[in-house]
Symmetry: C2
Subunit: 476 residues, 2 copies
């Protein structure tokens, strides 16, 4: 708090006090005394320290906010803005360091960090047939330019596939993309400009923030509850901000695994209609449901075309295919298509053609059922083991779907980073909650364990090791 | 000029005259009286009309320029800026309309508009072997996530391939991208923010402008001469602007086909070193040289790491592969890599693996020589015919490379749009110069004819039809 004592206000000056205060604060920011992200003192406290009216501080903060020098979060205060927010900052430095743990020889570890399913489950023979059939049929023409909206027969096959999830649309509304990340990137390119606001879940996927930040836009995070996003907080934030869209993953969210209740999905849609914002829904886990009924995507309930739907095949198949699709409301279609064209013209025509044959053959349906069966068993195995051996150290929710568990340490003294490091020593890789936040203490208390690419034997062994390490850390 | 008469300046006011004038002009812009692109009156003329000093007008224009409300082009005056420049505007409306002439049934035309080489020349059997070998060797793992920099063995193979063009680099500096358009898009994402300036050639490729505009940046065009960009204009513009980079295609430029002289390449590099700007060099045509010696890319001459090189394989192979690479100076590498990650994470690992086998086999070398031989003959055929039958109606330059001719109508009354329409009637598709400009009259006098995907017989037939149509238009 000492730096605020350096502020001298001249009550005789013609310059209004609030302006003097704002200028002094700006100077502190420019001199680096107040770094981006620093919380400014509460209004009453600063007013008291400087012997001025509350209104003076309020007006100074307002002025700074209009200059984008600070931003306020309801309930948590006013913070120094990052002047470089419009530079590319997809992932904060800490997070990047962790992501780059790529130096590790993964083969030596029980890898609960990998969220891609085992390559052995990929229907490689089936795809080989599709690739061969395309080359046989189209020869070199298989590699010609595609429309930026995608290869028409694949768009039609996608429409049929989506109908199985309850999404009724037509091929004209479907764009083929090079994976879900590109989907969010081109939607951001089409819809966002500097300082625009996007709402996201808290925590959310850092890659998504990368696409949003690359536009110079700002993300306002909204906490998750057991049944989805906190609508009370969302409504309060809607009084302050006009978001360009909200980015959500209602089916087994990344990283929490939370599945939205039907009620919450409907309420979120009604809010979008009432307040006229778009919902960008990413669906990469909807296929991994281990209940009788698959959860319904938001898009299937969207009767007023406010949901922009992104479908990923990176989990149910393999990420290296780099294929996915979006369903676009007519109002944004042209802008997103232009953004796709200026990004990479079109997705590989060859892969699109092969993928069309694969979808049309009906094999995708068989493959999906197989995946649900394989991972449903693994899910039961890991949750049973976690109940038995980890419930002493962690709380966790069972969504009966997805490929991960999100565990909250019962001991507030045990951080996910410490656990992460200790577990590496024990031969186990997990994802620490800190990968998904730079400051939230509750999120940092979480770890994520993925069973996407771990054998049953290793799951058992790995859970034992986690229990052992936790036991040591809690007593030690 | 009438609207300027509505401006009333109060010489008694405390507000300086230049400020009053600037405010009045801003009002006219806001009211829509002065549209984006409108040229403001010359300084002396406006000063005379309003009965003020030249300096008043100069200061008003300067003030408006600092507010980005106007921009000046050396030698041509001051223009009203586009307030929506930071929205996505990859291609202007006119251009989009033309691009969408896709409704045409191309099969019925002699297609001099298509710049992709005939699919029949693609080494499809060779690629089939590579795809099969990858699936056999790596199975499902061929589809796992790649590093956003690319599949390491392919990066090494690219380094070897680039060395054949004189570019000495190492795999760490090479990033694999999903085609050249993505290269420029992620470089723009990493380097540009709103209102940044990029220099481009005039005319240039509209897709490139799309990537630049998507960042809210502005492009300042610099005319081309027979041996490359006009360095005199470039130097004058460097006194006004600080460009983030200049985007050039020194080897058989799009759309003009111009090949930079070695002297000009060296001079451009020296300017980049002296004024500290980057050169983004796109190379999609360097392989199509019909002279003894292939032209040297700028990157091969760049001894101070100021060239960001983008290599496309869309012409020498097929665009649907969606693969290319960039060579990145160390200073921009991390930012471009982050931009790639947030754009699509990585390029398809499967295609990358197959492409590595193809490059390593040495077959690319054989394929390239074959293409040079095939298109060298076509180039001779079309230039001989054009000399004989079109020189009465057009001027054109012979660069002895590339896949297109850029013809300038000798008759200023004949616009490329009129020719385009008349030729469609004659069963011939060409690209009108208007696709590459929205106002430049000289560029609009040009047409581009591509022999990338036309048989020898159709070339002869097509040139005859063009001559006939020109003959009618010039006499009619």
């Amino acid at each position: 708090m000492d730096i605020y004592k350096t502020i001298r206000l001249d009550k005789q000056s013609k310059t209004p006090l609030y302006q003097q205060l704002a200028d002094s604060l700006l100077l502190l920011v420019e001199q680096g005394e107040l770094e981006a992200g620093t919380k400014l003192p509460p209004i009453r406290r600063l007013a008291l320290m400087l012997d001025v009216n509350n209104v003076t501080v309020i007006n100074a903060y307002k002025y700074l906010e209009s200059k984008k020098a600070v931003y306020s979060h309801v309930g948590s205060g006013t913070f120094v803005a990052d002047p470089d927010l419009n530079r590319n900052k997809p992932i904060t430095k800490t997070l990047l360091t962790k992501k780059n743990l790529g130096e590790i020889n993964y083969g030596n570890y029980i890898n609960f960090a990998d969220t891609s399913v085992s390559a052995e489950l990929f229907p490689v023979d089936r795809f080989k047939q599709c690739f061969d059939a395309v080359l046989e049929r189209d020869k070199g023409a298989a590699f010609s330019y595609q429309s930026s909206m995608g290869y028409e027969p694949l768009r039609e096959a996608m429409a049929v596939t989506l109908e199985e999830s309850g999404i009724k649309t037509s091929s004209e509304r479907i764009q083929i993309i090079s994976g879900a990340q590109q989907g969010l990137d081109i939607i951001s390119k089409a819809m966002l400009k500097t300082n625009d606001i996007v709402f996201t879940e808290k925590p959310t996927y850092y890659g998504a923030l990368g696409a949003i930040f690359s536009r110079g836009a700002q993300a306002v995070e909204i906490p998750l509850e057991e049944d989805g996003i906190n609508l009370y907080v969302l409504q309060r934030l809607l009084k302050i901000y006009t978001p360009k869209f909200i980015y959500v993953m209602p089916c087994y969210q990344t990283p929490t695994g939370i599945c939205y209740s039907l009620k919450k999905k409907r309420e979120l849609l009604e809010l979008a209609y009432r307040h006229n914002f778009y919902i960008v829904e990413e669906d990469n886990m909807g296929d991994f449901s281990y209940t009788e009924e698959k959860p319904v995507p938001l898009k299937a309930l969207d009767y007023r075309n406010k949901v922009i739907y992104i479908k990923s095949f990176s989990k149910i198949l393999m990420p290296g295919l780099r294929i996915g699709c979006t369903v676009l409301p007519k109002a944004v279609l042209q802008a997103v298509d232009s953004a796709k064209y200026s990004s990479d013209i079109s997705t590989s025509g060859f892969i699109q053609r092969a993928f069309e044959l694969y979808l049309k053959s009906g094999d995708h349906h068989i493959h999906t059922e197989r995946m649900r069966s394989v991972f449903g068993k693994k899910y039961k195995l890991i949750t049973d083991l976690a109940d038995k051996k980890l419930s002493k150290y962690f709380d966790f929710q069972k969504s009966r779907g997805g490929l991960t568990l999100w565990l909250r340490s019962k001991n507030s003294a045990v951080s996910s980073d410490a656990l992460y490091t200790a577990l590496i020593g024990g031969g186990v890789l997990i994802t620490p909650g800190s990968l998904f936040t730079s400051e939230d203490e509750d999120i940092m208390r979480h770890i994520r364990i993925s069973f996407a690419n771990v054998t049953d034997a290793d799951i058992a062994k790995g859970i034992d090791i986690i229990a052992d390490v936790c036991s040591t850390m809690n007593t030690g």
